[in-house]
Symmetry: C2
Subunit: 123 residues, 2 copies
């Protein structure tokens, strides 16, 4: 185990630096829904109702608040089409794609974690 610690976090300065990075990342990404919203919009741009249907369990109030936060922080944009009634479609910005590796690892871990939970419930 000591080997693993040393491989991952060679010294105290590096530990403090990665701690600060993770705290900063979670300052903007924290909560249950921001990353799922980004991931879902990476697949295709969507209207509010479509997004709510795909993210089962999110309330309209929370979704509206997450979209506002993601828009203000440059992760998504709102496209308002001309026409009556006007249509609002949400899509990811280029900046959201910088989260690709974070999402890939989180997805891999989430899948393994679910299997572990299932297995411990069977035992």
């Amino acid at each position: 185990m000591t080997m693993m610690i040393k491989d991952t976090l060679p010294d105290k300065a590096e530990c403090a630096s990665s701690l600060r990075n993770v705290v900063d990342a979670l300052y903007v990404l924290n909560g249950k829904w921001k990353l799922p919203v980004v991931l879902n919009l990476m697949h295709s741009p969507k209207r509010f109702n479509e997004l709510q249907n795909e993210l089962r369990g999110i309330s309209p109030k929370v979704l509206a608040s997450e979209l506002k936060h993601l828009d203000l922080n440059g992760f998504i944009k709102r496209n308002v089409s001309a026409g009556s009634p006007e249509t609002i479609v949400y899509e990811v910005t280029e900046y959201s794609w910088t989260l690709k590796n974070v999402l890939r690892e989180l997805s891999a871990w989430g899948g393994q974690h679910r299997e572990k939970i299932k297995q411990s419930m069977r035992e």
Copy 2:
């Protein structure tokens, strides 16, 4: 951009599956402090006060609640030493090490994100 979407999320089923994984991961990891606590304890086991000093900005109430949640979910353990007064030291379990890649990517992203914010404040 379409190429990138296709590379990352080849079809709708895979999108739904990674969405479910990410939602499940955040169900257990959500909030600002669980991952920083795990990362900090990976460096070395610590007492409550040491942990609170290193995680600047966390209140004792929130830290106590995060430690309880992480303990219940098998990410950390509490070691109570004999002696008077008894000493309680928190350390990560083997299971926390499955989060190594998630933490590495989140740390890399957090560092880049901070640089981007700094740059946009200068402009």
